[in-house]
Amino acid sequence: MVSVYVKALVITLVLFAGNYFFVKYLDDSRAQDLQTRVSDLEEEMQSARTLLLYTQTYNRSTEICPALEETTRAQINKLYDLFSQLQQTESSAVLADTARTKRRFILANSELWLYLRQLESVCGSSGITPILYFYPDQRDCVECRAQAQILNSVRDACSNVRVFAFPTDLDLGVVNAIKSRYSITTTPSIVINEKTLAGITSRDAILSEVACIKN
């Protein structure tokens, strides 16, 4: 006769296995959703880049630039929303690896920011005031969460402001280059119009820098 201890072990293992696969399924679904959204955005960005290349090649900036500006704004917004989703998924999905998606997100972020610079050179102005926001990925930071809240409120108030978030401690070549360019040594830090503001920056200080066009 099977002892009660063995029976209990089998029951517990079955329960745990069931639980594990359920949690794994949930986590994978969330990670997959995130991955799909990043992929969609990458595809949209590729399309925009190709259009920019076409504009440059055939010098059609007058017709195409307004549309490019519009899609770029939408993409930056999407990317910033993805930033919140990424952080949420990262802290809640314990059985899914989001590191790869995170790197793709950061690269897309960097690429979009560079694309915006290119757009400005081709179209004259993008009508967008970018704010680069530097935060630590591996460390909890109340000031950074406060800074993010301030940036959210500025973005909501000003139609021309868009935020690009960069983690400073993930050792990614392109982010390191941006950090070095703007002499980022502390978090949170923000860059507005090529000006680095170290530490937490108030809403008023940001508004005084961005020439806010109210929503």
């Binding site: 009660v4 329960l15 949930l26 969460r145 301030i150 937490i200």
Partner: protein, 450 residues
């Protein structure tokens, strides 16, 4: 002089408390730096569920117990200390016990300083057969019990706390479980007497679960670790063989149970016999009581370590006894991990909020800037644990023939969440007190239970 000061420090609550916090932080900081939190949570959860499933299986296996038709002679011992408020009702309950034979009732007054002595003299007038013994100075519960044992004539000895009120049929039901000479003790379903405040209502549920469900399952495994102090009955022969109660023990009811197990005696339980007892009515008193229980458990764990993982003692040595320590230790680790995480977040948030306030004071009240509770998908692993717990609580109410009503819900929620943290913290404090060697003693101010 210095030696005396050091001795004083060793026995100082605040010194111990400081040590608790210091050791707490150092030990867990080191542990959590090495072991990922998910591994700790899952290991603990697995063990909790596994143990619960073992006990549930044993609980479901429970069959009819073989009952004896004999009613041996019985002595009732009531040790008391400063029990003026409860002794009347306790003695009345004992004399109201339905038992086919005349009971010998002995009260031992352990040098009470309140009106217990006068109360006992009045009781003697009402119950002339009541035997009263008195210690000239306070000597503790175990010595009081042993003193009464020298006068006890019954084949069965019932030990009852002075703030406990057995149901009229309790003794009659319990005695029938002495169905062979290897049965050394029989325990009952201990319930809380008229829970009035929230602390007592939590304990009401705890007692149903502990003395109802867990004790039933443990008894099925011959693994009862304690013969509850409020009321347990013993075979006089078994008590004589093991030499009575350990007088240097602050949890003599646990020690005697372990001693009986060690000597090969069985301990039986009947949940049909109900005894009601007063319980601590404040968190401070509860903390002191549980600290004593847990320190007693650690102390007795050392004394009876030969039984741990020893298959000579059957399921008790192989599983029940070691697992009782493992579950509590892992409980401490899990609770510490939660406290450590949230404590760390709290300090971080507090310091961060000071910096934020300097830039924008209005943000300090924005909850978005603070660390949220850690709710991640690992909670799904705990959902099943919570369901098992709920089922056990429901079963326990059934054992006690109680219905769950809406007023039970708030204490039940606390019992299943924060109360476990409280108990784990007490356990950790108990461990530290044992390590630093603070003097073990019964607290006079504690509403004593053993």
């Amino acid at each position: 002089m210095i030696k005396k000061m050091l001795e004083g420090l060793r026995n100082s609550f605040w010194f111990s408390a400081l040590l608790v916090v210091g050791l707490f932080a150092a030990f867990f900081y080191a542990l959590f730096a090495v072991v990922p939190y998910l591994a700790i949570f899952l290991a603990a959860n697995f063990l909790f569920v596994y143990v619960a499933v073992v006990y549930l299986l044993k609980f479901w296996e429970k069959g009819e117990q073989k009952l004896s038709n004999k009613f041996p002679s019985a002595s009732v011992i009531i040790p008391c200390y400063n029990s003026a408020k409860t002794i009347d009702r306790c003695v009345e309950s004992v004399f109201a016990l339905e038992y086919p034979r005349k009971l010998q009732v002995i009260v031992v007054d352990d040098a009470s300083t309140d009106a217990t002595k006068q109360k006992l003299l009045q009781l003697k007038k009402r119950f002339p057969s009541l035997e009263i013994m008195r210690h000239p100075r306070n000597q503790g519960k175990a010595r009081s019990l042993n003193l009464a044992l020298t006068k006890a004539k019954g084949e069965i000895v019932a030990c009852i706390d002075s703030d406990t009120y057995p149901a009229r049929d309790a003794l009659k039901r319990m005695v029938r479980l002495f169905n062979n000479e290897r049965v050394g003790a029989v325990t009952a379903l201990v319930c809380v007497e008229k829970p009035r405040n929230f602390v007592q209502k939590i304990q009401e549920i705890e007692y149903y679960v502990a003395f109802g469900f867990w004790h039933t399952a443990l008894a099925e495994l011959d693994g009862l670790i304690v013969t509850p102090g409020p009321m347990s009955i013993y075979s006089a022969a078994a008590l004589e063989k093991i030499g009575g109660f350990d007088e240097d023990n602050i949890t003599e009811d646990m020690e005697i149970a372990l001693h009986l197990q060690s000597a090969g005696y069985k301990i039986r339980l009947t949940t049909d016999a109900v005894v009601r007892t007063d319980v601590p009515d404040s968190w401070a008193k509860l903390f002191k009581q549980r600290l004593r229980w847990l320190r007693g458990k650690i102390f007795n764990g050392r004394k009876y370590r030969h039984m741990l993982f020893n298959s000579k003692y059957g399921d008790f040595g192989r599983f029940v006894y070691p697992v009782s320590f493992a579950v509590e230790l892992l409980g401490v680790v899990v609770v510490s991990r939660i406290l450590f995480l949230h404590g760390g977040n709290f300090i971080n948030d507090l310091l961060g909020a000071v910096g934020v306030a300097q830039v924008d004071a209005s943000l300090v009240t924005n909850l978005g800037i603070y660390s949220g509770a850690i709710v991640n998908s690992s909670v799904f692993f705990f959902l099943f644990t919570i369901m098992v717990w709920l089922y056990i609580v429901w079963l326990s109410f059934g054992i006690a023939k109680q219905k769950i009503n809406v007023w039970h819900v708030p204490p039940m929620v606390v019992f299943m969440t924060l109360y476990s943290m409280f108990i784990s913290f007490v356990y950790f404090s108990g461990m530290v007190h044992e390590i630093v060697g603070t003097e073990r003693r019964w607290e006079n101010k504690e509403k004593v239970k053993a």
